[in-house]
Amino acid sequence: MSRLRWLVRRLVGVVGVTVAVVAAAVAVVPGRTTRLLPPVARLTESVGSVESRLLLAGTAVVVGGVAALLARANGTQTTTDPTLDGRRDDPVEAAAVPAATITGDALQRRLDRVRDTDELDGVADRLRSLAVGVERTTAGVEEATARERVATGEWTADSLAAAVLGESVPVPVGARLRRWLDGSGEARRRIRRTVTAIERRLDGETPQTDGPKETTTPDGGVQQPQTGVGDAHEPPTAHDETRRGDGSDGAHPSARLQTTDDYRTRWRGWLGGTLGLVGLGLLYGSPVVVVGAVVPLVYVAYAAGSALPETVSLRVRRTVLAEQITPGDTVSIRLAVTNTGDSVLSDLRVVDGVPETLGVADGSPRAAVALRPDETATLSYTVTAQRGHYEFDDPQVRVRSSAGSSAATLSVAATGATAVATTPPATAVAVTRAAPLRVGEATADSGGEGLEFHSTREYRPGDPRSRVDWRQFAKRRELVTTQFREERAGRAVVLLDVRPSARRSATAATPTGATYAAYAAEAAVERLRADGDDVSLAVLGIDADAVATPVTTAGEAVWVADAGEDRARTRAVFEAASEAAADRESASRETDVSDRTPPRGTDTAAAALVARCPADAQVLLVSPFTDAVPVSYARRFRVAGYAVTTVAPDHTGGVGGGSHLGGRAAAVGRQLRLRDVRPLCRTVVDWPGDRPLGLAVGRAIDGGDRR
């Protein structure tokens, strides 16, 4: 504030106080006041000559006008930081993605446009194909039989669902009446019942009963409840990623506060109230009422006098409570705010700078606290991890005066963790180096050097004495040499699917299926490399031009023949794949893609890829199975004689877990595709995102047969 302005304000204040004192003196001792102050005497005389009623009326008009103006002027002048105003369009808790990349969005949009049951044909066709697939794989019948069962309604105990998908199944009377009452509501209800019936049938519910009674496998056996692919999580431990160069954790230097928000004008209305009480008291001649005006006046003075401390000293420390973070993990963040100054901070508001693309899953990154000197307040919240490295912004802090009439906003640098970063895939699978003499994990069906007994043969000169079966010599005086199974380096091909159709997620805050797949594939390559295997890499969904280093292609896939040794090229391919996996914008432009039949040319492309693969390689297919293309690839590999293992990250949130009907239908579709691929694969690891990646990949890799 300039000096001149300060002087003017002080002068005006003095005038106001003087006028108030004179008015009070006139009220209490009018005679003495008019003698001492001639202007007051002249004013009293002139007022005395004016009709008092007219004067009071005029005064009332002035008072009313002033009060009205004061009431309307109850505004604030603020420079509000948008971060602190949570009601704005882009709060720190939000994560925005194109709606088309949410699982089942296309079907859900179609559902939202339905106005009556007559418009359900398109949606019913889609659900009918799902029901046929479910019936075929659950009951283990042919396609034609499954179609017939759906047409006749034998596939479910729900009569309404049976009628929706059936050809000559009557709709229950109640449903018809509901349609008469509310066509659009009944249409949505029918679809909801149908999707639920399909989910139940997928769970193995038999049509004669309500609710799941038994689960059957395609081969007719009893399916055990699927346990998790790994053990329980290790308890989270504090894990700080201190990025500061000095790693110091000392007190934050004091910051001089400058008022950024002034709410004092909000209190002007109470001056009107004070005025009203004074007027009322004078009108009724009641000194009690006049004195009562002290109450609001004291509040106004309190608000006007309430000021921010000159300086504030805070220490903010952020902790990320997770040792290993994989995409989709829920990561706990803790922010500790300590008042290291000498002033009491009665109203301190803190908003942590959550990285833009991470959504807050639980808790809140905001808090309002009151801190004495050396007191600490802690706020906790969780975010859903996306793949990559995400920096936190500095927390925004707003300090308010005790009356809340003025505030200052400032950023405070936080020590401790400054980013959330997913663990490198190699670390996530807990790679262990093999023993120096072991050259690989794959076993061969020929005898030789190794650890496991294979056979015996006649001793030949030169055979090691340690391999002679001396027991046999003691019994029969025959020299026999023992042979073990040869261990030599295996071959593996990792096929990764990050096509646009795979870039879908169950919610806006969770990673896409392609992101999960890219992460898992990278972890698998690292694991295979550490095991001494020769590994090749094929990636669907990226262009060769998008890779930083020159790469070849095999069909529609980018191909790296020796991913184990050619680390630079492999790294470049994975970087391109990760980038593509997170690219939802391009994925949102591809909608209404059929997920039942693969596009034309898929078989040809798969054949081209198969031709490039080593003959004795094991194939690890990593795909979220959002459509039928990976099934085609698995089938092509199987036909060519390859052993295929599948890791399928679940991008749908699980069967029945979707937030809307479209998502639930998409989850059923995915399960059907997994059922279709299961007979083609040695192992299918349906990887829910909340289980450790390392165990999922390990199960996929270690669960191989022998050659």
């Binding site: 002033v66 009557p170 905001r366």
Partner: protein, 532 residues
């Protein structure tokens, strides 16, 4: 940055997260209730205040009901029904305090205390949950004013009928309606057989056919008969055939028009040349009352069914977009009229007895005489209906004032709760001081008014910046503690100042206008200093 909600999905906290924290709302309610109850007791207007508070609470309830989008028809109907007791309690409370003032039980001016506490109570109802603002008040005003207008129009009928019957000797209700009904019956149900009433017969039968077709379409006949399979249904085919025949009613109706005109204007021109052997049997057939009455009955039934089906469908579909929700309004009107006509008289009589008991004997006797005269003139049912209507009019006036106030800025446009609570408490406290009520409750009410207002602004800021999910309880209590400390200081200062009256007092010859002018000038100065 979210730019197009249709294309993007955002995981963000819901809108209700950004409301004031629950602890702020709870503290505000406690402060208002405690301070208001205390000052009401101090002024000896507890009974009137409680009555008015109930009415104000019901006004708050109906504002909530009228502003809801869920189950809208039921909400609108409930708004109509609640309007009567809301206005009734407000009027009753005002009458009680007026009577108390008249008898000297309560000081003069106590009515302003009661009114202020009523406003505060209404403000309290706007505190929990979704904030009540301009939109909710406007929506409530639409519904309640519609109710008031409809009920006033309805009440005018028996009033006008009573006046004309007594003053002129003519029963209005018997006039035009009866003559029109008679005319319609004569033409369409029991016409003379000569000349043959072919036109009206054709019109009646055609209307009956059209009404039957409408009934078949409107009732769930197809829904019950059609099992929605691809197989042809004989029953549905039959219905379609019947409808096909009944749809000929439309062309028949078109033909009936000119025939009816000719029959009415120039029957002899047409039938003069027709032989008697043809004319008489034709006349006998076309004049049959049974067929005509059946056809007209079908029309009446079709209209009733149309209305009922519309109401049923409206009530079933909870996702209505219309603000007025016609179905709910109709139900509300029916219930209000039924209650007013059949039960309102008892309520009016009870109310009259209560008021009479509160008045001095001479005034009570005069009041009773007047009441009995009104009942005798208009009838107890009409008086009851008028009472219901009057209460609804009072309620509509209150709500309309609040809505207009929010539009012009006298009432906060967003979140009226804290502002009105504070204003009501302040008025009650100020008047309490003016009527020489006990000092402590009155000063407490003044301090509570400022504290509640401050809590409201503080809570709104807190909700907008931190949200309900963020921790804030301790900060709220610290802020409230500071506010209470200030109120203690302010109250103590006022008490000290009053005790100093013995030393320093207002001079009896002090020129009040001069003091007032000086006060105005000083406060304008301080107001400008508060400008940042």
């Amino acid at each position: 940055m979210r730019t197009d909600r249709d294309r993007e999905t955002v995981s963000a906290p819901p809108a209700r997260n950004w409301r004031p924290p629950p602890v702020v709302t709870a503290l505000s309610v406690v402060v208002v209730v405690a301070a208001g109850g205390w000052v009401a007791t101090a002024v000896d207007v507890g009974r009137a205040t409680a009555t008015t508070a109930v009415g104000a609470g019901l006004v708050g309830l109906l504002v909530r009901l009228a502003g809801t989008d869920r189950f809208r028809p039921a909400a609108v109907a409930a708004t109509w029904v609640v309007s009567f007791p809301a206005g009734g309690f407000v009027v009753a409370g005002t009458l009680l305090v007026s009577a108390d003032q008249f008898t000297g039980t309560a000081p003069i001016g106590a009515v302003f205390v009661v009114t202020g506490l009523g406003v505060a109570t209404f403000g309290v109802t706007g505190l929990p949950g979704r904030p009540v603002g301009r939109e909710e008040l406007s929506s409530a005003a639409q519904v309640v004013v519609t109710a008031a207008i409809a009920l006033v129009a309805t009440t005018l009928f028996p009033i006008v009928d009573a006046v004309t019957t007594r003053e002129i000797g003519v029963a209005v209700s018997a006039g035009p309606f009866e003559s029109v009904a008679e005319r319609l019956v004569t033409v369409f149900v029991t016409p003379p057989a000569s000349p043959p009433p072919v036109g009206s017969f054709l019109a009646a039968v055609a209307c009956g056919a059209v009404a039957s077709a409408s009934l078949l379409r409107r009732l769930p006949v197809r829904a019950l008969l059609d099992d929605e399979t691809d197989d042809p249904s004989p029953a549905v085919a039959t219905v379609d055939r019947v409808l096909g025949v009944l749809d000929y009613g439309w062309p028949a109706l078109l033909l009936a028009g000119p025939v009816l005109v000719v029959d009415t204007v120039a029957p002899t021109v047409v039938w003069g040349g027709v032989p008697r052997s043809v004319r008489e049997p034709l006349g006998a057939v076309t004049a049959t009352p049974a067929v005509r009455a059946f056809a007209v009955g079908l029309v009446v039934v079709a209209l009733v069914v149309w209305l009922l089906v519309r109401l049923v469908r409206t009530g079933y579909r909870t996702r209505l977009g219309t603000r007025t929700a016609t179905g709910g309004a109709v139900v509300g009107w029916v219930v209000s009229c039924w209650f007013g006509w059949w039960r309102g008289g008892e309520v009016a009589a009870t109310l009259a007895t209560t008021v009479a008991e509160a008045l001095p004997p001479t005034a009570a006797a005069s009041f009773r005489r007047e009441f009995d005269a009104v009942v005798g003139y208009y009838g107890l049912e009409t008086v009851g209906l008028a009472l219901v209507t009057g209460c609804v009019v009072v309620t509509s006036g209150v709500v309309l004032s609040l809505a207009v106030g929010s539009v012009v800025g006298l009432v906060p446009a967003t979140g009226v709760g804290h502002g009105l609570s504070a204003a009501g408490l302040f008025a009650a406290g100020g008047v309490g001081l003016a009527v020489d009520a006990r000092l402590a409750p009155s000063l407490t009410a003044l301090a509570a008014a400022v504290a509640v207002w401050d809590l409201g602004g503080y809570g709104a800021d807190l909700g907008g910046e931190v949200g309900r999910r963020g921790q804030s309880r301790r900060a709220v209590f610290v802020h409230l503690g500071g506010s209470l400390l200030v109120s203690v200081v302010a109250g103590g200062g006022a008490v000290l100042a009053l005790r100093a009256r013995g030393v320093v007092g207002l001079a009896p010859d002090a020129p009040a206008p001069v003091v007032l002018l000086g006060g105005v000038a000083a406060l304008v100065v301080f107001a400008s200093l508060l400008r940042s």
